[in-house]
């Protein structure tokens, strides 16, 4: 958005620096997941449909942005969106973790695999990527 105003130039994007840099995930507490597995599945069913809608109807999806972000519509229509994938490859996750370890920002022993649970996703998605579901079992 800054670029569109001429205020800035991009020196290097996240993707230039670390390809497919994973930004964030949606999380629940363990207690909530234990008590509400079906509700969680329903949320994720809706999310997966949203991902597909964004992929196939990006322009229409962008029109929802001003209402929630308060960003001007013309900027919402050109701002770069993330690519959404319900499951990220475990090797990408571990690569990012390793960079954080190498630069001394986190400890090596953090068991990131145990912080991810794909078991609430629609069945057909669980086979994508390197699901930690299989890893944990």
């Amino acid at each position: 958005m800054l670029e569109s105003h001429g205020a800035s130039r991009i020196l290097a994007s996240f993707h230039d620096i670390v390809p497919n840099w994973i930004f964030a995930g949606l999380y629940f507490s363990d207690d909530y997941l234990k008590e509400n597995p079906e509700l969680t599945q329903k949320v994720l069913n809706g999310m997966v449909k949203s991902f597909e809608f964004i992929r196939t109807n990006e322009e229409e999806a962008r029109k929802f942005l001003p209402k929630y972000t308060k960003v001007e519509e013309d900027l919402c229509m050109i701002a770069a969106l993330r690519e959404y994938s319900p499951i990220e490859p475990m090797d990408h996750i571990l690569t990012q973790k390793q960079l954080m370890v190498d630069y001394g920002f986190i400890k090596n022993e953090a068991p990131i695999e145990k912080m991810i649970d794909y078991s609430f996703l629609p069945q057909e998605l669980k086979t994508l990527g390197h699901s930690s579901v299989e890893d944990k079992q």
Partner: protein, 196 residues
Amino acid sequence: MFCRKTRKVIALLVATLFISVPTVVLATESSTELPTVKIVYWRSIDDLPLYVGVEKGYFKEAGVNVELEYIKGEPNVLAAVLRGDVSAGVISLASLIKLAEKKVPVKVVIWMGHAHEKTKCGIHVGGQTKYKTLQDVKGMRLATSGSINSKTMLTHALAKGGYTIKDIHPLWGGDPDNPMQYEAALRSGGVDAFIV
């Protein structure tokens, strides 16, 4: 005149009618009302799947009413999730790794996006500055939040250009709330670059 037995039957029917009507209404209401899940959002473009799910009715189709609630800052969101004030939130991979170190009882159940060739998030330099590539950033004044994500990204970018964090002037905590504040800072010359 009704006999005693008939009066009892009528009384029972009337009582049943008065008691059963509201019960039916409640049963009808509970079958049409969807359970609510509160999810924290950050008024960010990156939360688009949540907005689409609400606006297109995908959550309701799936059988759940999703309410989006704004809470600023990952620690505040985490506290709300753990207290049960809200059901879910969004967390960076770096913060998730930190939570793993502390064995905090949460799980990411779906990812919320990754960078790609058209990604514009990254290191932005002021339009009029001299900085052109990662190989000529020595002395650059760069403002960033100081999160692990930002520090990792910055350190790795500098390494690609042959530098370390000591070769630039990082301004930790430089994380304005909106694009206009970034723009003002860049145009004023107070900083040369941001991670946005």
